[in-house]
Amino acid sequence: MTPLEFLSIAAAVFAILMCGTGLLRFNLFLYSLQTFSIALATIAQSQQAKEPELYFVAIAIIVVKALAVPYFLSWISNRIDARSDPGILIPIPITMHAAIVLLGISYPLAKSLPHILWLSDSTVGATVAISLLFTGTLFMLTRRNALSQIIGFLTLENGIYLVAVTCTRGMPFIFEMGSLLDVLVAVMIAGLFVFRIKKSFEHIDVTQLDGLKES
């Protein structure tokens, strides 16, 4: 087991733990840790694959996704006084256990991916990446708070990034940076809209946004 794999497992664990609480600040903290481990995994990969430009990507990830974005979101959550998310459909602890089941499912899925997809032996990396995709989606589906949706989306994005790191021999640098910038802008815009939603609806419960139902 390589450090890359160890760190990506840590990311998966943090993502799963993130599903277990409705407190937004704690969610953001765990998201930050998860992103941090992914950035460290990137550094591990850059050493392994001898691609120095991945260093810059890792630093950019730490600055943007592990620090700036969580800070921005927690600032918003304080400003609009939304500190927790009661969740929908299933109780929050069960969500966490569902995420574990999904991690278990991710393994055979990762194994059944076409074999080219791991250039080195990166089954674990691919497993974690798929599990992050699942976890992010699950998080988005089972939460009702607009901010939680953003966090879920970011987790999903992390999963995609991890696919890029573990399953390819280095995506083009400019593409990495471009997608990172996109994420940043998307979060900023989403944050602004959360403010707007709070202002017009006096809540940020997305399940209650149903004024446009077909009728």
């Binding site: 450090p3 794999e5 733990l17 602890p93 393994y107």
Partner: protein
């Protein structure tokens, strides 16, 4: 196990329970800017309790009298069986399931003893304890079973010995198991954020409410058994963390022993910090916290199963696990 080690074990066995609980109390006081009670305060308390006479509810059956002594003796056996220190008697019977059943037996006895008096408070405490342990039990079982899967044995002594080969995967298993055990032991030992051991509020207590009818020497035995249980649980999770550490670095035996004891103190420190800074959870939110313990142990089991799958992979048995 040589003579010095036996001596060490006995000394630690006698001293640590008192010291750790005194340490936690004192530390909590320090964190609140108070001077706090002396480290040996639990000992003085025990002495005081032993001096006192007992008051027993008229409705209580003899069971109520026996249970503290019974639990204490079970705890003594457990303290010898469970490898909570880096050296231990290699007695036969340190089976995971025997240990788990002994712990469960203790819980069972204290619950029926609490119900025995007919006091509404201890009944409350008992019912809460039953609920909590039903939720925590899987976490503890799975943490230990994960280790069992990883090392293909159900003998705790064997699992916690050094003969096994290690890799980074083992580090994650050990870390996750240790974390699961520690979180579960916070619940088991009725500590924050589930239960506040310092509270005077009879309506929110779990453990304290359960033993509210006990007094005098009986209470002393309960306290002593509790302290011992605390040290055994902490020692077990400390051992898990130490094993993870031992995978990453080579440590000679003497340092390892010292570090293990230090680790127990670090966990105690952590407990004190949690108890000073955490907010007690609402009763309905307790499952959310316990779910974390369960999650850690589930992940540990998952990791252990993966590891077995990898092992079979290397044997050329591709996908046999799947």
């Amino acid at each position: 196990m040589n003579f010095t080690e036996i001596l060490c074990f006995i000394v630690l066995f006698l001293v640590l329970p008192i010291l750790i609980s005194g340490f936690i109390r004192n530390l909590k006081a320090r964190l609140q800017n108070r001077i706090g009670s002396p480290l040996l305060q639990p000992l003085y308390n025990l002495y005081k309790l032993l001096q006192k006479s007992e008051t027993i509810s008229q409705d209580a059956s003899p069971l109520f009298r026996i249970v503290p002594a019974l639990n204490f003796s079970i705890m003594l056996i457990l303290a010898v069986l469970v490898p909570w220190l880096p050296f231990h008697f290699s007695l036969p019977g340190s089976e995971i399931f025997l240990v788990l059943y002994l712990f469960a037996a203790m819980r069972f006895f204290s619950i029926i003893a609490a119900l025995d008096t007919g006091s509404p408070f201890s009944a409350f405490g008992a019912s809460r304890e039953a609920t909590l342990s039903a939720l925590t039990e899987p976490a503890i079982i799975l943490s230990l079973v994960a280790l069992g899967i990883a090392y293909r044995t159900s003998d705790l002594n064997e699992i916690f010995s050094f003969s096994q080969s290690h890799g980074l995967m083992q580090v994650s298993i050990w870390l996750l198991s240790g974390a699961g055990l520690f979180l579960a032991s916070l619940v088991e030992l009725s500590r924050m954020p589930i239960d506040d051991p310092t509270t005077h509020l009879e309506l929110t207590m779990v453990h304290e409410a359960m033993v509210i009818e006990n007094s005098g020497p009986n209470l002393a035995l309960i306290e002593l058994a509790y302290n011992l249980r605390l040290v055994v649980y902490y020692g077990l999770s400390a051992q898990c963390f130490m094993h993870a550490l031992a995978v990453l670095f080579t440590i000679d035996h003497a340092t390892y022993v010292l570090l293990s004891i230090l680790a127990i103190f670090i966990l105690a420190f952590l407990t004190a910090a949690i108890e000073s800074f955490a907010v007690k959870l609402a009763w309905r939110n307790n499952p959310e916290f316990i779910a974390y313990a369960l999650t850690m142990s589930l992940l540990a089991s998952l990791a252990a199963i993966f590891q077995s799958a990898f092992a079979s992979l290397s044997l050329g048995n591709l996908g046999a696990f799947l």
